[in-house]
Amino acid sequence: MKTLEIKDLSYHKNSKTILERVNLTLEAGKIVALVGANGAGKTSLMRVIAGLAKQYKGSVEVCGEADEDRRKQYIAMTDSLSAFRDSRKIKDVADFYRLVYPDFDDKQFADILEFMNLNEDERLGSLSKGMKEKLIIALVFSRKAKLYLLDEPFSGVDAMSRKKIIKSMLLWKPEEATLVISDHVLDEIAPVIDEVVLIKKHSVLEQRSAEEIRAEQESIEEWYEGFYEGEE
């Protein structure tokens, strides 16, 4: 079963190319790393998939649904929670999620919050970067979505929190759901991913199975760095 199918996607802003002729298919149940240098178009690709970016050409289907609004029901994407002031509590944000996402699971949210050592009475402004990221992950995985999009979930997050975030992915990702994690490094997520998708020059340059790369006696990091050799 295909969870995501992108055909001939191009996306321009003003006269700048952001994405060019992207073709990508992701199967159900996979954990996929979306890698590439900063500014390669990883975030833009996620935003196009999630229906947050407009005026692109080509087709994007999530669980067979091409309509921008309708495919949102299958997608859970990390959000910086910018719509909430620092004085708001974690439970206020949960109330919002409960109201607008029919697939939000209260029990699961409570479980993940406990696993992350977060208290629902804490205010957003009092959370450290790592704690906030953990909250964002908790919110995302409290939804029973088909496609999870985590946009750089580890940037600025300490090692302990990173471990917790990775464990929570393994604990709470529904079996048949597909998880896409974007990052510009691969060290920590390498053991948990099925596939790597490399974005370079505004397009998908490679899509490989992680075990396939390792079977060639190459670590995924070496493989990834190989694409940037002689560029610095």
């Binding site: 321009h12 802003k13 005026q55 609004d69 994407m77 959000d79 910018s82 719509a83 109330d95 029919p102």
Partner: protein, 278 residues
């Protein structure tokens, strides 16, 4: 997917926080002023009337600020990544956004009316304000007519405010769409953007002002001398109840159509080009 009702409920819940907060601060401020003048000059005295003047000014200014804030809040919701991830159709999203703006504004206006009446209470019960029975008698036959007009104008104001929200959303969002996708560079791009926006602004303003102007002319030619309220000899009409002429409803219809056009244009721009902010 969620429907209009749930979207409306969620938006109302978030937006009404600002309404409550602003009202609370405003009410406390006005209460303090009234108390200050009341204690200093005696409640209900002429000098304490200064307090009412200040309260009225504060309410007026806060009212204008609040209208702007309602429009800005609508814009923020349309551009917010948090909101735009919500699985709802663009049409329901936009309608819920405009209507929650309208509803919070109505609540705000009613609450302000209440606050003002409360500040007036000491004067009503303090005996300084007497009701002139003769004026009431002269005024009596026109009460229903005047209340008809008030109702009409309130309704008209409501429809126009919904239009106002669409109007400013359309302008600000066109600006962001042009900023994102106008395929020009540097100065040319800025110039083209400015020209397009000014043309749009002029066109839309012309639309609203022609309808609004017509309604105002109609009301002022309705046969009432509104000086009546100030000096009770100024009533020059022989009719006892004017009712609402057919033309007033035609103007209302025109305004409704205009708001619908604004909404449709905004819907198009929103659905096709307005991205969530990063």
């Amino acid at each position: 997917m969620i429907g209009f009702k749930q979207t409306f409920a969620a938006m109302f819940k978030e937006k009404s926080r600002t309404t409550r907060l602003s009202l609370g601060i405003e009410a406390i401020f006005i209460l303090l002023i009234s108390l200050y003048f009341g204690i200093r000059y005696g409640f209900g005295s002429d000098s304490a009337g200064i307090g009412i003047g200040i309260a009225a000014t504060v309410i007026f200014c806060v009212g204008i600020w609040y209208q702007i804030d309602v429009i800005m809040a609508a814009y923020r919701v349309n551009r917010s990544q948090t909101w735009r991830q919500v699985p709802v159709t663009a049409g329901n999203f936009l309608t819920a956004n405009v209507l929650t703006g309208l509803v919070t504004a109505v609540i705000f206006a009613l609450a302000n009316l209440l606050i003002f009446v409360i500040t007036l209470l000491p004067f009503i019960f303090g005996g300084e304000m007497r009701i002139d029975s003769q004026a009431v008698a002269t005024f009596q036959p026109y009460v229903s007519s005047i209340s008809n007009w008030l109702l009409y104008m309130t309704l008209f104001a409501l429809v126009s405010f919904a239009g106002d929200i669409c109007f400013w959303l359309l302008i600000t969002e066109s600006a962001s769409v042009l900023g994102d996708f106008l395929p020009l560079k540097g100065r040319t791009s800025k110039f083209a953007k400015a020209v397009i926006l000014l043309a749009l602004l002029a066109l839309l303003s012309w639309g609203s002002s022609s309808i609004l102007g017509a309604v105002i002319r109609m009301v002022s030619n309705s046969g009432f001398d509104f000086n009546f309220v100030i000096d009770n000899t100024g009533l020059h009409t022989s009719q006892t109840d004017l009712g609402l002429p057919v033309i007033s409803w035609l103007y209302m219809l025109a305004e409704l159509v205009y708001v619908a056009i604004l909404w449709a244009a905004e819907y198009f721009v929103f659905k096709k080009g307005v991205e969530a902010k990063k």
